[in-house]
């Protein structure tokens, strides 16, 4: 063997193909351009994000949503004094399109007024579970259609923010019951609400007690440990897991502090700055939900929670799929929209389309 061949160098005299000129690195294929294409496409279609806020009334849920998205997304209405709270939980959804730097985000916020406010709160989580499963069902029905839409409207709840009242002691029985049931169906992010009533030491003690409670009851909150894909994710998510639940304060009014205009709450003894990491952990929550993990939340909802739901539903139908794309589901009592019947088969073109894997839209 020619020794020269074994050590190729840019200026080696190995026979080069006619296309590459000598003494030059091969031109890159240009794979990075695909990322740009994705970005352009994303800008055109925009993003969807569905968030649900759960907690007792008065814990600052609507203020928190407004602070997160820096706009008056949600306006909570108080019932008149003396009017008893409604016996069943009514869920309430509001959709807005927010735009930032040319990127559109279709945000849907679902509120749960009356959660945990009654004297008897047994099964107060059932309407919420029902709503979440309903959204999965709707998506499933759209997915199994013979002629599917190009972009299935995604109303599935991507993230559920659970507001824990700042008692300073530990999780209440109601919190534990709710979290146990919901962490299996949806990504749950617990936060310590109205954290301006706890001093720093109390906050840390409360947090460690909550973490202990979550562990002892096997409640797996977002970011879940076994969905970490690689080492980097694990490192980042471990850091986040140490700080869960975040102690947050919400505010939608601006005040002047040292010449700066800050979002905060002004009391007689000081101004609580919402975006100051020394005062509260709202920036962490915002970064988690929007800046870094929004896509991850959607991925996990689609790939894991939704797939789990789909498997359960398919098993319930007691029938194996009769061929790609043809699933006969028994009528469901959850979904009020579809009757569960497959549409009449269309010509082969539709069947061919149904053979493809369900495409993940983003």
């Amino acid at each position: 063997m020619d020794t020269l061949r074994q050590s190729p160098s840019p200026c080696s005299s190995r026979p080069s193909s006619p296309r590459t000129p000598p003494c030059e690195t091969p031109a890159p294929v240009g794979i990075e351009a695909v990322l740009d294409q994705l970005k352009i496409k994303a800008m055109k279609t925009g993003f969807e994000f569905n968030i649900m806020v759960v907690g007792q009334s008065g814990l600052g849920k609507s203020t928190m949503v407004n602070t997160l998205f820096k706009s008056k997304v949600w306006k909570s209405t108080l019932p008149a004094p003396g009017v008893p709270t409604p016996q069943t939980l009514q869920l309430h959804s509001v959709t807005h399109v927010i735009e930032e730097k040319g990127l559109k985000l279709k945000l849907t916020v679902t509120d749960t007024p009356g959660f945990g406010d009654q004297i008897n709160n047994s099964n107060c989580w059932e309407p919420i579970l029902g709503y979440i499963n309903e959204q999965y069902e709707q998506y499933l029905q759209e997915e199994i259609l013979i002629t599917r839409q190009r972009h299935i409207p995604d109303t599935r709840v991507h993230c559920c923010v659970y507001f824990v009242p700042p008692t300073g002691h530990c999780l209440r029985p109601l919190d534990i019951e709710f979290l146990q049931r919901l962490c299996r169906t949806v990504n749950v992010v617990p936060v310590i609400a109205r954290a301006d009533s706890l001093t720093i030491e109390e906050r840390e003690a409360f947090r460690s007690r909550i973490q202990k409670d979550l562990k002892s009851h096997c409640i797996d909150v977002y970011p879940q440990k076994h969905f970490d894909e690689d080492v980097n994710d694990r490192i980042l998510n471990s850091k986040i897991r140490e700080r869960i639940p975040f102690a947050v304060v919400g505010a939608d009014q601006e005040h002047l502090v040292n010449g700066r205009c800050v979002l905060g709450r002004k009391t007689n003894w000081g101004v609580i700055e919402v975006e100051n990491m020394e005062h509260c952990e709202f920036p962490l929550l915002r970064d988690l939900l929007i800046r870094s993990h929004l896509q991850d939340l959607k991925d996990i909802t689609h790939n894991i929670h939704y797939e789990n739901y789909r498997v359960v539903r398919l098993k319930e139908s007691h029938q194996l799929p009769r061929g790609p794309g043809w699933v006969n589901l028994s009528p469901v009592n959850l979904a009020p929209t579809s009757a569960g019947q497959p549409t009449t088969p269309r010509p082969s073109k539709a069947r061919k389309r149904a053979q493809e894997e369900p495409k993940y839209e983003f």
């Binding site: 009654q118 008897n120 002691h169 029985p173 109205r194 720093i200 009391t267 005062h279």
Partner: protein, 442 residues
């Protein structure tokens, strides 16, 4: 001193009260400012039954009475010593002056010797700062040995009633304070009727007092009736929650309820104001009878009236408690240290803790006891007697004018036994006191 006289006509008093008035003036007692309240106080006390410590406890009144009574004390002493020239002069005044204006002072001395007792109940969801507030109010830590339950233990917890008793002494006045705590209230998933154990406890105390009062030996009746209930409302809600309404409606005819907004340091001033208004509206709407501060008399001075007005307007009180003392502006204050500032518990601009403390301990403690005895207990007693008489007439078909409790009448021997036991109890109590003193001195 003439203008004071019209007050005589307002109150039906025995004939010589007007004389008391005028002699007071002639004797030239003390400052002019105290005089107006002085006379009215004296007149009122002249016709009050001074059997129990029913003395209105406002500081200036007590001071005025002291200033009035002191010379008469000296009178008594001087009478016992050999007569002097001055004495003959005093003897003249003596003739016109009956001298029972010392009675409040005597009562005062007796009460100081006997000591007061007060039973306070605290109720509300866990985590609202009840134990911290009790600590701040009475400056004693009753909850040193408390162990907070973990989440698993809480799932099976039921509402309990815990009593802590502590003896506090300040400037020679003894107070036996009993705090009734209600852990587990409102914490479960299903809180239906979670106020029932508490309501039963209050009724039990009434029943026990009723039995003691109707019994034959009434010397050492222990008064365990709940004089006041501090109910903690969560500041995170938008007003009263269904549990709050349920509790207050179950107990408002049995105990004096003082609603409080807990953990008020999470509210900005505008939110506090709105929440207070909303709670007041809802209390009206639901027909809840919370403890009402008594009207101050028309002849009180403006300062007192102003204070009283402020007190009524700031109900329900927004309170903050603290176990720790922090450094603020070079001073050590009781408060909470946050990264954005220090909340001072005793600063009126920060919270209503001072108002609550003054109301509960310094001005209205006696009124709370009075209302419990006169209103709530009497209601219970009347209700009880009605039930018994209706049962008796049903059972025995005979008229029974005096409600006799179905207790067996003790014979002479049992009576002697009871007396001996009472003596023993008293001796043991005295020994305990002595031992406590010895320990404190050490």
């Amino acid at each position: 001193m003439g203008p004071a006289v019209p007050q005589v006509g307002d109150i039906p008093t025995p004939g010589f009260s007007s004389r008391v008035c005028k002699t007071g003036a002639r004797a030239g007692f003390k400052s002019n400012t105290a005089r107006k309240s002085l006379t009215s106080a004296r007149l009122r006390l002249a016709c009050l039954d001074l059997g129990g410590p029913n003395v209105a406890g406002r500081a200036s009144r007590v001071a005025a009475m002291d200033s009035l009574a002191a010379p008469q004390d000296r009178l008594v002493e001087q009478l016992l010593s050999p007569r002097t020239q001055a004495q003959r002069r005093l003897k003249d005044i003596d003739k016109q002056y009956v001298g029972f204006a010392t009675l409040p002072n005597q009562v005062h001395r007796k009460s100081v010797k006997k000591g007061f007792d007060f039973t306070l109940m605290v109720a509300g969801e866990s985590g609202l700062g009840k134990s911290t507030l009790v600590h701040s109010l009475f400056l004693t830590d009753l909850y040193k040995d408390r162990k907070l339950l973990s989440a698993e233990e809480r799932i099976n917890q039921t509402v309990e009633i815990l009593k802590h008793t502590v003896d506090i002494e300040e400037k020679g006045v003894k107070l036996k304070l009993t705090i009734v705590d209600t852990p587990g209230f409102g914490d479960a998933v299903n809180n239906s009727e979670c106020w029932k154990p508490i309501s039963d406890y209050v009724d039990q105390q009434f029943e026990q007092y009723f039995r003691d009062e109707s019994g034959l030996n009434r010397k050492n009746i222990q008064d365990n009736r709940v004089h006041c209930c501090l109910y903690f409302i969560s500041p995170f809600g938008h007003g009263l929650r269904p549990v709050d309404v349920g509790f207050m409606k179950a107990l408002h005819e049995k105990v004096n309820i003082v609603p409080l907004i807990a953990k008020a340091d999470c509210l900005v001033p505008s939110e506090t104001r709105k929440l207070k208004e909303r709670i007041r509206e809802e209390i009206d709407k639901f027909g809840i009878h919370v403890y009402q501060f008594p009207e101050c008399d028309s002849d009180e001075d403006e300062d007192f009236k102003q204070q009283d007005r402020e007190l009524k307007e700031s109900a329900p009180f927004a309170v903050i408690g603290s176990n720790t003392v922090v450094e603020a502006k070079g001073q050590r204050v009781r408060g909470r240290l946050y990264p954005w500032g220090i909340v001072e518990v005793e600063n009126q601009a920060h919270c209503d803790f001072v108002k609550l403390r003054n109301m509960l301990i310094r001005t209205h403690m006696h009124d709370l006891k009075d209302v419990t005895c006169d209103v709530h207990y009497e209601n219970y007693r009347a209700h009880c007697i009605q039930q018994m008489t209706s049962k008796l007439t049903q059972d025995s078909r005979m008229e029974s004018p005096i409600p006799i409790l179905p207790l067996p009448t003790p014979d002479a021997e049992t009576e002697k036994l009871i007396r001996m036991k009472d003596e023993e109890l008293r001796r043991m109590q005295e020994m305990l006191q002595k031992m406590k003193q010895q320990m404190q001195d050490q």
